[in-house]
Symmetry: C2
Subunit: 475 residues, 2 copies
């Protein structure tokens, strides 16, 4: 066989024979690094055995090297980076947790960061640089090649979390009058192709995308067929300003592998591939739970003071709702003083309301985020939640009223408990569905703000249970 | 130009010119069907204008037809299906919500279902059939071609939500001694190729996968190069029994487009492609929030009685914890009777504890689900949450104690409130992190069960605030 020419050699993956050894370091079941392995690395770092560290880390997959940085004690990270600088490629940096990466980037000199960024695709380079402060960012950009720098600067000009930040500027586009043969020859000839691509974009003379061609169609089609006869015309175009969450929803809805990104004039300016979107889908889907709980982005690698600040702010706002609830209780101090049993029953009414509201709210926020709940079925959703709340309120309220009767032998008290549970269940169900919908219509992220409003509703209303007791003169 | 031969013609997408018209029916911003469009379809169905329904629906993308079924009132679904039977292709069914699809499948005759299933890739066909009851499933399978039936039966033999159910049996595998040219000729010749594929698997003589080749490498490599020289050897193999959540994590971690599925003997039996995994990532990531809230799978298309049952069961279990909390209050009835202010302050202590616990628990459950929290950093995570809980408890406790002093002018009461908030914050933080970790070690899904245990801890402990008051003889 002939010797391979250079551009073919570039294609041969580096990690070729790492398979076996790599596997030993991973826990088979969870595919995470073993604690014993991390201890070995930490010990080698303690003894400044740079060669041993290198030998341990070298066989790892880049994604596992990234994990190693996350899992090892933070104090070791800088020294680990110095021990394995040439393993710290763009793959590793792209896979690394944002906080851990930012820490590491601050440890490196601007020219080292610039060198890493130049190896990366634009989207990954942007992710590496975007969180640096203005001074550090300028220092890194100054060290870069002019063309790479221009690409990154133009990406940074797009808003945070937009398609423009996410897209790669490396893609294949060819004119619509070409044949399959011309395209194949072009691909064979071109040496600066993107490292990976799955579809070819067909453009007209104004550089507007007119179709896409999956590589599998090109491989199975005779050379003389025109691209315009095999390409798929009905493609999903992503405007450069689109929010990344919306991009992720389109990829999911239309099962896309890659998609063309167009500027406001409709010209093809980049491509987004599914591997970049997978992270976003995962983050955005998990984010709602964290936002609803007030845990911010909930990243366990976030610096501690920042986490404390985020969580305390949320608890502080919620203390406001607790104080409101507590002042409702204060209104009825006299009633409680006359019948302390009411204080005993309070947690049952408010607990049931809070849990029912959380259920409804979580379902609603999720349905809004995934575009399952639209203006077409809003009303149906509200009616549905009304039924659920009625059924749960009546069912569980009756049960509790029965229990109350057995313990306290007081028909009026049991009746008030039933009434309070039914009303609070309806209140909880309707707040849980209406508040997120209204917030969404007002263009306020329902995941961030719903909980406070819903909690206020269920807590304060829950305590009006005491008002019912007053009304029925239970003392 | 020559006329296209048949297998090329098959490749030309059908929806070719639908672009413009399709777009008019969608809300530009959210990419969902407009309510006015859905009303038009419903009206046409009311008037039994089958042709008009067909004309309205025909230009839609399959994913939007699936959405139409979800968004239209359930009563219209069967008639809509009858009006557009031949548009109801496998793409539409694959994109449809599980509950809506199951409803629809029950409306169709077994031979109609069998015909749909035969057009689909194995994984989609399995999804269509797996939720039918045994009798209906047998009826559908009986109508199918023997080879298709065998493929589906073998997929159904794998556990629910395993790689075996998810994988497609249509993939390209070639022997390792081939050259790029031999592969290209083979692809051009073979007519029963999978509709879409992105990588070719290279196997040895025992049919064990030894490498993968992205199509882009094949297109840019000279014909005479051996596949074993361009293929990537270090690939991620998915065992046929692996849970789909774990499959999704691997795809994400290693940025995979497709992966080989192997049987226990290591033979290549299928492939999983990223477009199937994207749905799972989205579902699994969103699922945790829904499970933590006790809303089951939280699907808004789930039949109402089932939703009520799921949610009521959860509320019932949580009533148990509320009764426990309430009996703690009952223990201190005497104390409350002597100082009703304690009942007023109760919601503040328990509210703060509940919210802090929810934050910690959500973060922990998420970190466990994404493999970010492993045995290597468990201890660090616990220490971290201890610091957060101390900071929040002291900060907000001091604030509330100060407020209490201003309102009630009672140093002892304010001190008890501070102490209660610090202790309950520590209790909440540690329960929130330890309970999910312990459940995970016991192989119990922490998303499903954490809330009940954590709520019990914060509620009952929160009310021991009253015990503190008793201890300091506040009455």
């Amino acid at each position: 066989m002939e010797p391979l020419d250079d551009h073919v050699r570039d294609l041969i993956p580096l990690a070729a024979d790492a398979g076996e050894e790599h596997h030993e370091r991973l826990d088979d079941e969870s595919n995470t690094l073993k604690p014993s392995f991390i201890r070995q690395v930490a010990e080698a770092l303690d003894h400044h055995e740079t060669d041993r560290v290198y030998a341990l880390v070298e066989p790892l997959h880049p994604a596992d090297i990234a994990d190693l940085f996350e899992l090892i004690e933070p104090d070791y990270r800088a020294e680990l980076a110095r021990a394995i600088t040439d393993l710290l490629g763009s793959d590793v940096m792209a896979e690394m947790n944002d906080w851990v990466r930012d820490d590491l980037v601050e440890e490196l000199d601007p020219d080292e960061v610039a060198e890493l960024a130049e190896q990366m695709e634009t989207d990954d380079a942007v992710a590496l640089i975007e969180d640096l402060d203005a001074k550090d960012r300028a220092a890194v950009l100054a060290e870069m090649e002019p063309t790479e720098r221009a690409a990154i600067e133009s990406a940074l000009a797009h808003p945070h979390e937009s398609a423009g930040r996410l897209m790669s500027r490396e893609f294949i586009s060819v004119p619509e009058h070409w044949t399959v043969g011309e395209l194949t020859d072009y691909l064979g000839r071109k040496s600066d192709l993107p490292t990976e691509f799955w579809e070819v974009f067909i453009v007209d003379e104004r550089h507007h995308p007119v179709g896409t061609c999956a590589l599998s169609w090109i491989l199975r089609t005779p050379r003389n067929v025109a691209l315009s006869d095999v390409m798929k015309r009905d493609q999903t175009l992503i405007p450069v300003t689109m929010d990344q969450e919306e991009v992720a929803l389109r990829f999911q809805k239309y099962a896309l592998i890659s998609a063309a990104v167009v500027d406001p004039a409709g010209r093809l300016v980049g491509q987004i591939t599914v591997d970049d979107v997978v992270h976003i889908i995962q983050e955005e889907a998990g984010e709602d739970a964290l936002l609803l709980s007030g845990a911010g982005d909930g990243d366990i690698n976030e610096p501690l003071p920042r986490t404390i600040r985020t969580r305390m702010l949320w608890l502080f706002v919620n203390l406001g709702t607790a104080i409101l609830a507590s002042s409702v209780v204060a209104l009825f101090e006299g009633t409680i003083a006359r019948l302390v049993t009411l204080a005993v029953l309070m947690p049952i009414v408010t607990g049931m309301g809070g849990n029912a509201a959380t259920q409804t709210m979580t379902v609603t926020v999720r349905a809004l985020a995934t575009n399952q709940l639209t203006s077409s079925n809003t009303w149906r959703m509200i009616v549905r939640e009304w039924w659920i709340a009625s059924a749960n309120g009546l069912g569980l309220g009756a049960l509790m009223a029965l229990g109350c009767q057995l313990v306290y032998h007081d028909w009026w008290l049991s009746f008030v408990l039933l009434l309070a549970m039914v009303l609070n269940s309806l209140n909880a169900g309707l707040s849980g569905v209406l508040i997120p919908i209204v917030l969404d219509r007002l263009r306020i992220d329902p995941a961030v703000t719903s909980t406070v409003f819903v909690t206020t509703m269920t807590d304060t209303f829950g305590f009006f249970f005491l008002g019912l007791a007053e009304l029925f003169a239970l003392h």
